[in-house]
Assembly symmetry: C2
Homo-oligomer: 489 residues x 2
């Protein structure tokens, strides 16, 4: 007979989160905390539902989600078993794992869990500082758009995006990102996933293999894979992607983040940019340039885009307003090279594609940009993020001293913190969480099995309040080094 040895808090039928989600959360914690041991059999759906006094659907949904995320394994006619935690999830690295890590290739990479807990010290890797968003101004502009005398703005707009906003975007890109483009080259969309999917189909027939940065941004690789492309991870060196490897991989396109490599913060030097453009010219390939936060550089000059270097003929440039303004507006864009505009328009026309970004937000943003507010806002935010950045660097240096290496500073919303520690990254993240500090392991950015002896974490500084940075870093150090961790290190 199977006995539940687990203590669960009561499921609350009146809570905002549904009961299955509450159960899922509790079981997930029990698994990651080791309370439910690897390979242990879970109670059957029916008996567990009886024990908990909930419907079998509730338990089934909780189990399915855990199976989906790789926490449980469902074996036909036998039941549900606690899985060994999938490696890419909480890459432990370290010499004791070397042999094993190399064998993990078929498990799709998963991202760190989205965790909506409130943390006292929230070093979220990509959070904006929304405290100083110009709420009143945005409301005013938005109210100007949403009026009966503009009622047609509630109807479908230009499927490629509002022309007026595309004019603003192309001016902005020319002035601030050094791009070469016209409004006709700009295509607006509601998410990077959607624009990347479109790109795959624009290049259909000429694109089978695509290179992506390794380590890099999971969404790129997964979207290309979803659209049937063969994804080739290209190693990132200290000065960016290895161009010889791009040649060797025989890809027809490569996706890079030259202004601020994600996650390692490298700026691709001009020589390498030119090499990459030469590659594209030679093989008639395309460079997809993701310039997700090129505006935020805190010391030295902002780096102009790669797109602007040689006329942009072989570059598809990706940008958006998540970092410079707010993610919830869901406005992204791409700049197509001239030879793809006709292809795009044919596709839009044939498929009856409709614009997916809110036309009301597009028009509001157009007013916001026309009147110079975006420029002002970016200047203000650059200053604000710069202060937080400097404070973070100083705090880490003062508190961690020789124990930490800082990677990818001077830009964006995060740095990587590298330390040596006997505990795994997973355990260190959990300890930090218990102490009210949010940090994320950088393991999920590796697209191929890898092993290293150090531990690496994202430390974001965009969203955290300035006065919590130093205490947060101290707390992190204490929790990692004050007890046996310190002794063993």
């Amino acid at each position: 007979m199977y006995k539940v040895t687990l203590s669960l808090s009561k499921l609350d039928p009146d809570a905002k989160a549904p009961q299955y989600a509450q159960l899922y959360e509790q079981l997930k914690l029990a698994i990651t905390d080791g309370e439910l041991a690897e390979h242990m059999r879970m109670p059957s759906i029916r008996s567990f539902a009886g024990t908990l006094g909930v419907s079998t659907t509730t338990v089934e949904l909780a189990y399915s989600q855990l199976v989906a995320e790789g926490f449980l394994d469902s074996r036909p006619k036998r039941g549900y078993y606690v899985q060994k935690l999938p490696e890419p999830y909480w890459q432990t690295g370290g010499s004791e794992q070397d042999g094993e890590a190399a064998t993990i290739t078929s498990i799709p990479r998963a991202a760190p869990m989205r965790d909506n807990l409130a943390y006292r010290y929230d070093f979220h890797l990509s959070k904006n500082d929304l405290e100083v968003f110009p709420f009143a101004l945005w409301r005013r502009l938005s109210n100007q758009v949403l009026r009966q005398d503009h009622q047609d703005l509630l109807f479908y707009g230009d499927p490629q995006g509002e022309y007026g906003l595309r004019v603003q975007i192309s001016q902005y890109l020319r002035q601030f990102r050094g791009c070469v483009c016209t409004p006709e080259q700009v295509v607006i969309g509601s998410s990077q996933h959607q624009l990347l999917t479109l790109i795959c189909h624009l290049l259909k027939g000429q694109l089978l293999h695509i290179g992506v940065e390794n380590p890099g941004y999971l969404l790129h690789a997964e979207t290309f894979r979803q659209q049937g492309l063969h994804v080739c991870p290209i190693p990132v060196q200290d000065n960016g992607i290895q161009v010889e490897e791009v040649y060797a991989a025989h890809v027809q396109a490569v996706c890079v983040s030259p202004s601020h490599q994600y996650p390692r913060g490298i700026v691709m030097p001009i020589a390498k940019r030119l090499q990459l453009l030469e590659w594209a010219e030679r093989v008639k390939g395309y460079i997809i340039e993701d310039d997700y936060d090129g505006e935020f550089r805190y010391h030295g000059r902002v780096i102009p885009s790669l797109q602007g270097l040689q006329g942009g003929h072989r570059v598809i440039y990706l940008g958006g307003f998540s970092q410079v303004l707010a993610p919830s507006l869901c406005i992204h864009y791409m700049v197509l090279p001239p030879d793809l505009i006709g292809v795009y328009q044919q596709m839009e026309h044939q498929m009856l594609l409709e614009q997916s970004a809110s036309r009301i937000h597009q028009c509001t943003l157009q007013l916001f940009m026309e009147r110079g507010h975006l420029e002002k806002h970016i200047r203000k935010m650059r200053k604000r993020y710069g202060l937080k950045h400097d404070l973070l660097i100083q705090s880490i240096q003062a508190v961690f001293g020789e124990k930490a290496v800082i990677i990818g500073k001077d830009a964006g919303f995060h740095i990587l913190l590298r330390i040596e520690h006997p505990l795994s990254e997973h355990e260190l993240v959990l300890r930090a969480r218990e102490a009210g500090v949010r940090v994320a392991s950088a393991a999920h950015t590796w697209l191929t099995p890898t092993s290293y002896s150090y531990r690496e974490f994202f430390i974001g500084f965009g969203g955290i309040e300035q006065e919590r940075i130093e205490p947060g870093i101290k707390r992190l150090y204490d929790i990692w080094y004050s007890d046996q961790g310190e002794a063993r290190a």
Copy 2:
């Protein structure tokens, strides 16, 4: 030597539309109007640019778009030639075309051109009546959302869509569309194209062939094709899709619009719904139910969804707010059957998918629904559209008499008008346009070559002002029947 025999109006460098677009529009008109004859060679890019005093890029872009849309043919080293108008574009039908029509299978179907001209009598096929949109109320609710004390609403939200809105949607669907669903089954997205793309990947591995209604909605078929599925057009009879053909096609899913078939306005009777559900159960297939405007039925009761009939286990339900509220909000949703929720969540998690519909609009809509405004708005609009609908039917009957058959009345935003006429649908649309009347040919809804002796047009009544309906129908009759058309008919 080649001579330009064409009279073009001057391109205006200061106009809102770019010069290439102005040139494109003029050339397109010249081709559809027959001013530029089939198979004629166009001037070379360089010489034409010289003649017009514009850059070669301008001409090149205009030509590329015309090539992309099938108006011109580009022959290497020889130049650009005016194409025979692709049949599916302006399906002429008629007995003189029978033999030829059957050979056209490889040209991808194209939609009628999107035409932003202002028409005096605008029978646009899918336009809302935005005159009575509750602007002040929406501004007020939106301003409540967009406040500094809710600053976190500017950050990324739940990738599946705001939970509070999903609660409202599931309640609404249960109450007004007879669906069986929980908020956990609802997935929000910014466009139908995006949700359909997700569905293709949720069913990956088990879905190779998909049935779609013929005639039907182009976007469905094209999106499935884009995602690599084999699309099987299933004939629509007078009472909906032919279920025997669904069996015969050996598809694993079928996409239908049972409440109001697009474009023919058929309501699928209960017996056929049950047959279709039985098919799905037997072959373990899925029914994708597009319920795009099920709310708008003007005589008799609203038809409940197919999803609600047998627990929704094999139905993926698609809905949205374009028809009931406004397209520009870009909020759509789907209801997944329980067995696909885990699959969806795994995909969302692995790919780092983000929500693509504005979180600000989502929260505003949630307030709007919570306070009962959506229900009230739909009641008001149903009455308003119903009046316009009845007026349209009366006008057509009074003006066209025996000359017209009305198809698919009593619901939605359009009817189909069928007439007999010696002129082609293309010519009749052009004549109407010249007389300030917008109507669209229904030819582009056919997914396979077809021939019929009648002429069929979309006559939309949602967006046109009530007092223009009767004069518009009179104008249409006059322009089609008052001169030689009448004599020849």
